[in-house]
Symmetry: D3
Subunit: 324 residues, 6 copies
Amino acid sequence: MAGHGYQTGRLNLPFVGICTFGKYPYVEDWDAIEADVAVLGAPFDFGAQWRSGARMGPRAIREASTLFAFGHAGAYDHEDDVTYLEPDKVRIIDMGDADIVHTDTVKSHANIETGVRAALAAGALPVVLGGDHSVNIPCINAFSDQQPIHIVQIDAHLDFVDERHGVRYGHGNPMRRAAEKPWVTGLSQIGIRNVSSTARDGYEAAREMGSDIVSVRQARKMGTEALLARIPEGARYYLTIDIDGFDPSIAPGTGTPSHGGFLYYEILELIDGLTKRGEVVGIDLVEVAPDYDHTGTTAILAAQLLLNTIGRVMHQRELRKGAA
Amino acid sequence: MAGHGYQTGRLNLPFVGICTFGKYPYVEDWDAIEADVAVLGAPFDFGAQWRSGARMGPRAIREASTLFAFGHAGAYDHEDDVTYLEPDKVRIIDMGDADIVHTDTVKSHANIETGVRAALAAGALPVVLGGDHSVNIPCINAFSDQQPIHIVQIDAHLDFVDERHGVRYGHGNPMRRAAEKPWVTGLSQIGIRNVSSTARDGYEAAREMGSDIVSVRQARKMGTEALLARIPEGARYYLTIDIDGFDPSIAPGTGTPSHGGFLYYEILELIDGLTKRGEVVGIDLVEVAPDYDHTGTTAILAAQLLLNTIGRVMHQRELRKGAA
Amino acid sequence: MAGHGYQTGRLNLPFVGICTFGKYPYVEDWDAIEADVAVLGAPFDFGAQWRSGARMGPRAIREASTLFAFGHAGAYDHEDDVTYLEPDKVRIIDMGDADIVHTDTVKSHANIETGVRAALAAGALPVVLGGDHSVNIPCINAFSDQQPIHIVQIDAHLDFVDERHGVRYGHGNPMRRAAEKPWVTGLSQIGIRNVSSTARDGYEAAREMGSDIVSVRQARKMGTEALLARIPEGARYYLTIDIDGFDPSIAPGTGTPSHGGFLYYEILELIDGLTKRGEVVGIDLVEVAPDYDHTGTTAILAAQLLLNTIGRVMHQRELRKGAA
Amino acid sequence: MAGHGYQTGRLNLPFVGICTFGKYPYVEDWDAIEADVAVLGAPFDFGAQWRSGARMGPRAIREASTLFAFGHAGAYDHEDDVTYLEPDKVRIIDMGDADIVHTDTVKSHANIETGVRAALAAGALPVVLGGDHSVNIPCINAFSDQQPIHIVQIDAHLDFVDERHGVRYGHGNPMRRAAEKPWVTGLSQIGIRNVSSTARDGYEAAREMGSDIVSVRQARKMGTEALLARIPEGARYYLTIDIDGFDPSIAPGTGTPSHGGFLYYEILELIDGLTKRGEVVGIDLVEVAPDYDHTGTTAILAAQLLLNTIGRVMHQRELRKGAA
Amino acid sequence: MAGHGYQTGRLNLPFVGICTFGKYPYVEDWDAIEADVAVLGAPFDFGAQWRSGARMGPRAIREASTLFAFGHAGAYDHEDDVTYLEPDKVRIIDMGDADIVHTDTVKSHANIETGVRAALAAGALPVVLGGDHSVNIPCINAFSDQQPIHIVQIDAHLDFVDERHGVRYGHGNPMRRAAEKPWVTGLSQIGIRNVSSTARDGYEAAREMGSDIVSVRQARKMGTEALLARIPEGARYYLTIDIDGFDPSIAPGTGTPSHGGFLYYEILELIDGLTKRGEVVGIDLVEVAPDYDHTGTTAILAAQLLLNTIGRVMHQRELRKGAA
Amino acid sequence: MAGHGYQTGRLNLPFVGICTFGKYPYVEDWDAIEADVAVLGAPFDFGAQWRSGARMGPRAIREASTLFAFGHAGAYDHEDDVTYLEPDKVRIIDMGDADIVHTDTVKSHANIETGVRAALAAGALPVVLGGDHSVNIPCINAFSDQQPIHIVQIDAHLDFVDERHGVRYGHGNPMRRAAEKPWVTGLSQIGIRNVSSTARDGYEAAREMGSDIVSVRQARKMGTEALLARIPEGARYYLTIDIDGFDPSIAPGTGTPSHGGFLYYEILELIDGLTKRGEVVGIDLVEVAPDYDHTGTTAILAAQLLLNTIGRVMHQRELRKGAA
């Protein structure tokens, strides 16, 4: 490319460079996406019921993701002895953010849906960075013309409120909205604990509408294998991760923390198992409110988990291709 | 009251006690307000165009206001040699917060309007704690059946956008909405500086609709007296204070800071003059986003300014009564 | 009540409203308490030996407690399938704070004692929010005319110093002071670890005076059931929780953190067992110094634990009544 | 472009989108720059003598710059009645960051020089975001084959140390290094105050080598016009702004703050005058260490000042073209 | 000294080394002080009426003072063209901290008094780092056997409460206590503003007891010269600086901030004039509560001001010696 | 010593006093060290690949270490029933910091080496406080004339990069540099996880050069005993602890956090076992970047771990002496 030979030989340390997700290319024209994975920011936070600030989540996750961009040809994991995310095998792009319209939930959600549909249209795995958990609603909407999906939710809260004071699209509603969709075949709701905006009747409704609810302590007691066994095998999984599913010790930067949550490897191992059990076809990670955590721990967790998740999803796809 | 004689003899230091505004009584029943001043929280922040978090403004201002509650019979100011806010002369109550409905701007604004109308119906001076600047819209709406008002705005931004992408009730729109009201006779927009969401045509529209726009530097050049002289004398003033009218050095905890703002006494002296020039009939102070300022400086500024403003408004009212 | 019908229909989201504990009513007149549970703030921190700031604990815990106030009729726990804190069964009030007199430990402690006695006189369960751990001393004093109590302490530190440099009422002394009381039948000191202000002779004295000392690792090794078995059955328990009994990962906002502490469910399960083993007749939770934790994690832990503790205490009392 | 018509109609609020400087396009290929202004990050901080962290400056300034990107066609300033930065008149691009090599000052500086030379080769005004002030050294080096320049420095510190312990390229040395260059005709050092790494002999050397040293108080006393009059008229100015030239009240997020600094408009007016007095041909803004300022005030100051500076430089260039 | 020749040749950058005040030697044995200036920490904060934390003030000021320790032979000020604090002319030592006894105000104050008396006995200028403003009480007590002193106080608050609820030694009382002393000839109270713990009668008592009260605005209006003229000439001055005399923009890290305070040079110039007008014989700087200011600005202000004050006091003493 | 009898009777609370490590004496003359343990600060951070700030590590660890200095004669651990660090048995001194030269890695490292050699020459156990992990390189160099050592590393990252872009002495290289030394007999690298600057070939090289690599999950699975069994028995251990070996929940204040790390007792028990298995002859603890953690948790972890490690090392040495 360049005569000075500079660009090709960059050391490119993590603290250097523009903060796209994982320092992958930014593709502004959503009709021109050519990628296996398309990352979309959804900086919407009018749906929060306590602390706002999740609108700054996408920026913070992108910034944190650079920590894991050491300029190598892929990410070597010595425990698995696998190099994930090899550049010649996995193409990732950053779509930037969906256009958010202040004061207007309906338009903002519609714009998020547009973005996810663009990723799907390009054949890319959509990975959405919230934003509060209500952004999951347009994400699921965007799958209306796809094959059916099973939702795997990591979360402290059930988010199964039908409607209160007319609110149907806040961050307490997404799983109810999802369960209503014909193309959603069921839900695994994992990490649910303590009091929240969903009352007793919400739990009953969830179970009636096809949800399997598991608390952190229940998950730990049964173990990862048993937990995985409760999730339908061979399905197309949509994975929605509310960062407050994790313990406040590693995810304090969120709107509505709840003590007693998951630790890092508990979820990584669950996801690792999930990628082997079926195809992950969509991902969102929501509720990172970075300004409540000046250590950066929460955003780093989000970035580390997403990169490792994407790596494993793509690795299993590669293996399946090879096997086919 | 109590046999143990404890309650009556409390030292009641600033760090002790429930955080209502100024530690004044909380009146939950808005039909039972008997007060000269009624403070209402409006914790709404879906109207922000950069950082959110102003929803936590009312709580932070209430907490900060306790610093100035030393349990004396009033607030003695040695420079004026006046004791403001003497308990037997000024009755202040805290109405708590307007009910905010997440994702729903229209309902939230309506609930704020209900609160301000309740204060006005009780004959109390409404003092609203934002929330983002869009909460000014329902505040002005609540004056529809009152005598005409002139708006005095302290702000870095003109907030005179008519409509963009359908948005008419965000924090860039309130002054335009106010200017449209028949009961608003004019606007003094003070502190306006630097680039913002209002483009050139907004400035032109503002001037056409009766606005007088003054920057910080212009205000300083002309001096407080000349500035006051531009404001119609003897009018009923509605005072709307965006904390970002102040300099980021003393008000960093806000959504959209703008350097080059006012310092404390510049505004206190302007307000002091205003209370002598006419009757202040409504007040809002908006855009305190406390979690961006861990020093507490911004919330302390809001509390200190409001208490001193209320003191001066009530003191002038007392003087006018005496003169009549 | 109100013609506008507004008050009755509030959504009342967690971020809305005056910050009393759990948004329960504030009862200023301590002779007029009619409640099952009375929450009292004790914002005293002159007893701290490293970082101060626990005086702001009560305010922070109250603010954090609003996160769990979703306006439902009680707190549904899907793991227990129980709705705790149903409004028609449990009456909770907030007494505000004891009057603290700066520089004066004796008077401040006396005022705390007055408050706890008022709660007891009203037949309410006293729940005291510290302040540093020395506030436990007047709490225990207030039980002088009650039936005997057994103290269950969750803490990193033994707090069993008799006197050093004349200090007998600092935050290193409360358990020694308690052990001296005729109405204290014994102590279970749980979570004790690492070096602190109590030297070897303090441990010896504690054991001689009826204390059972258990470290975090010892507690984990034996398990909750065995740990409970060491606590006298059927006793009246006074529960004193120093937030530094928890791990700094979830309770960094405290004066003297000590690594290697308890996690959330370890203590919740211990307390759950305790409520079944006997009657909890008094509670204090101390040493939250919120300004050392801008994430709010520590105050959220305190609020979450207290609400769940109160719920379980009251639920067991209800069951006992039913059984009687 | 796109069939869905979405891209063209974005509201594009400040909190939305990838954080390049001012949301201007990122040009990775430095041989393909076509722009009037080219912004380059120089995230180097091994030259700091107290607090490090300036390596995160470029990211923070880029993020802050989005606050001023309201999606308008230019930035309207009502005080000047000018719309600056009109898209059809000023082309700005973001070059990303120079490649920094940890532990290696020489290579890192060389890479910064490469970037500035690329901007100059493309005919663009180089605007460099530090990094500590030592990054000015390679910036000045890059002008070796340009017409002579006069350096205008805004700073608390003289930065005129020749060599101590072998150090010649730290953040205490840049002005000495610049003064040694044949293509540097003189220096105006403005804002210099209090004790620093430059001792008395450094001041003497500076004056001998063509420097004019002015403190904040001296600058205020003489006024902007007189201060401008001391700067050679009609020269080519290289403007180097150490953020610690500003007062810690508005720029606390820096390595070595010094009280008694400039306020915002003092410098904006100086720069405004400078753009009229001659041609500004290069700019760097250094020493923003964002993690020492969680309010964001410092980075916002840097972004606001740079955008207004670039606007004025380009506006004057336009006027000169028109006049020619 | 050492064979390896290392120690003598250290660069000794500000971020390197043990944090004594100014990196001057620590003298643990208070009977062995040989110095012109003796710095004593007084980490006491039970006297605060709002936020505590001033106990960490001495540590923070010491740490901040290293910023100004560039290892030169003295501190060159180019505006004065003077090198202050030349090592061969001014001997400074750090006495460490007075022993503070938690819960015990009387003992803690007595230990501070012991320290100040030790400094005075050694013929050194005592410089005390607070702690809250109540530490001024033992400082003044220690002058009981010295020649009379005039107190110059920089503060937002009058601190002239006689007694409330038995409190006579809190941070609202020191100036009253001082005014009662036979060896205190008068007080200049400068910067006093806004409401505080001193009520109207306190102001009256102060004036009766020999105090001259000047607000920030009054001080600005009259100018430094006129202000100095109100202070008795040729007296022995004890200078007590409450950091909240400064504006919260540069001193947010304090217990009870008050907007509208002094800026840096206003006070430096006042002190500069004071050192020329008479002999400064004692100094305390109080109320730095560093954990409320993560930028470090407040502690840097304290350190910068103290070093410049000490430099000027010693420089004038030197000039007087030369003149004698 | 002193006539006033004050010094000998100090309570000496943790928040009082000069911040040397553990409040042990500062020995400035490195030729005059008489101690069993010599603590040296190495505030160097140019070797970091993401966030800098580890230069402030030594200061923060010293400050935190005062929390554990309660003025007792040693540190009693009730779980072990041992009093560690009895003053008459263990002499600890603080050497202050190695002289760091900004921009110059080679000189800075050389100065660190000088310090470690001084400690070794005095027969003291060197304990080095980083700084980034590259400071381990000069530490190991200093052992060139000592008996062979086995390195036990606690870390998230392998740090086994040979050279990239000429960098051989950054924080990604130390274990490679160590492995090259003839006096290093092998490495136990414990806690290694996730992607980092070491690519696959680095892992292969490490194993070839004598390294045993164990992840956190592998360590947990095998247990402490089995893990200890993999470390050569009876060797001389050099212990290098990168604070990021711990989980971000307890060590967020570090440059490159990695989720899924160790908890406190896991490492304390490993180290406890190590002290019994052989002689620990050198220690460094690196990568504490305190300004990323305002809670102080990270620095407290470092201080608590180091004091307990030193206590155990010295206790075992004492036991061995007794046995001999």
